[in-house]
């Protein structure tokens, strides 16, 4: 029993029931967590945290001391097992709620959508609380759903004693209310901004797919969308055919700074770069691989050699090549050796004679 807690006979009986039930509660917490985690994964919903716990004996004793008479049996206490999902955005709270409704039985009589209470100073408490039961039956449990900012608010106000036993002067309550309003505004703005950005991404993807590449500024987001179209695939396959090689997929985003260093401003610039240099990049790769039996290549081979060829055709020479390797590999003295090797491999290729 917890220290400094005096329970009457009824409270002690409830504690006895709790101890008897404890192993089943532990199992319930794990099962509910697993089911929720799996359902969220299946729906592709990423949350900042899912917490689950069984109420401690100390916490229950405190609760029973305060309001033990309210509960006839241990089954009337709905938060012996508690789960909390902390989402990034406000609209995700609703998505999680839909999932919870699908995988659990909800006790609507005891569930509360505190967001609809519209308390002026209660931002952090605006979470959605469902009292649930597994579809297979068993004790009820509480599921709290809130955003990360609501969680921060709850934690901070709890720490400051906002809901404590000391009556807080009106001027301080007002300051809490101001903060609550600000936090709610930030939460809503994050959600709004996410929608705006998602819309912007769709527009850019649409432009990329429709081939209006000169209207698409080169950035991390647009380059990623462009890569979804596998613009280097054709050259990679041609290169792979030299030694019947397999192509091992690797991220190409590290090449974005190289393309930016070339002064490319739009995805259209990148497409022209591919069109203009593919044949010469292929010839460079032939000169590298034809005398080897290397039959595994990374998917960066085409893009890497496109970059190297462009540097050579622009007269960038040793320093230009080294700068490309410095950008994609990090600066190291060995990059000078690689630059010399490329110069040697490219020396007799037709495009070099035009420089």
């Amino acid at each position: 029993m917890a220290n400094n807690v005096n329970l009457d006979a009824h409270g002690q009986e409830l504690m006895r029931q709790y101890r008897e039930l404890r192993p089943a509660l532990e199992q319930l917490a794990t099962q509910a967590y697993d089911q929720l985690r799996q359902a969220l994964d299946e729906q592709g919903i990423y949350v900042t945290a899912i917490e689950h716990r069984v109420k401690t004996e100390r916490s229950l004793a405190g609760k029973l001391e305060l309001k033990g008479a309210k509960y006839k049996s241990i089954d009337d206490i709905t938060d012996l097992v508690g789960l909390r999902i902390i989402t990034f955005y406000t609209d995700e709270v609703d998505k999680v709620a839909v999932i919870a409704k699908r995988i659990f039985d909800i006790d609507w009589q005891d569930s509360v959508d505190k967001r609809k209470l519209h308390e002026l100073d209660a931002f952090g408490y605006n979470s959605l609380h469902y009292i649930c039961r597994l579809k297979t039956g068993g004790p009820r449990f509480e599921l709290q759903m809130r955003t990360a900012l609501q969680h921060v608010w709850s934690t901070m106000t709890h720490d400051t004693g906002y809901k404590g036993d000391v009556k807080i002067p009106r001027e301080y309550l007002r300051q809490f209310s101001r903060l609550a309003g600000m936090m709610e505004l930030i939460d809503d703005e994050f959600s709004r901004l996410r929608l705006v950005l998602a819309d912007y991404r769709r527009q850019i993807q649409s432009l990329v797919k429709s081939g209006k590449l000169d209207e698409v500024p080169l950035s991390a987001g647009t380059f990623r969308s462009f890569l979804d179209l596998q613009p280097f695939d054709r050259l990679n396959k041609r290169i792979a055919a030299i030694n019947q090689a397999e192509i091992y997929p690797v991220p190409l985003m590290p090449f974005l700074p190289v393309l930016e260093s070339f002064g490319f401003e739009t995805i259209g610039d990148v497409q022209r770069f591919i069109d203009e240099h593919s044949e010469d990049a292929y010839q460079l790769t032939v000169s590298q691989l034809a005398i080897t039996d290397l039959d595994i290549l990374s998917s960066s081979t085409a893009l890497q050699n496109l970059c190297l060829v462009r540097v050579l055709k622009q007269g960038g020479g040793h320093e230009g090549l080294k700068a490309v390797f410095d950008t994609i590999n990090g600066e190291t003295p060995a990059n000078a050796m690689l630059a010399d090797m490329i110069l040697e491999q490219a020396a007799t290729l037709p495009f070099m004679s035009h420089n």
Partner: protein, 89 residues
């Protein structure tokens, strides 16, 4: 964990090397260093061994570093684009 490679990791040497390096696939949460100071040549099979170790290490929260690489071996890594995948010390 350090593995020291010597000589030529050509096609013939791949099975033996793969077996010798297989314990590295069980390393969890630690960085692995492949010491290539005295490695004179690496074939596609050798690259596949390195790749397998890298994938296994990354899945378990570790990283793979290649140290002391010779110019000839570095050239192979550069030509195949694998130079962008591994970290070099």
């Amino acid at each position: 964990m350090i593995a020291i490679l010597e000589g030529s990791l050509d096609t013939a040497a791949v099975p033996e090397t793969e077996a010798a390096m297989s314990p590295l696939l069980d390393v969890a949460g630690k960085d692995i260093i492949l010491d290539c100071t005295n490695l004179q040549y690496i074939s596609s099979g050798g690259l596949r061994i390195f790749l397998g170790i890298l994938k296994s290490a990354q899945a378990k929260g570790g990283q793979v570093y290649i140290s002391g690489i010779t110019n000839d071996v570095r050239a192979v890594f550069a030509m195949t684009g694998f130079i962008n995948i591994f970290k070099f010390k």
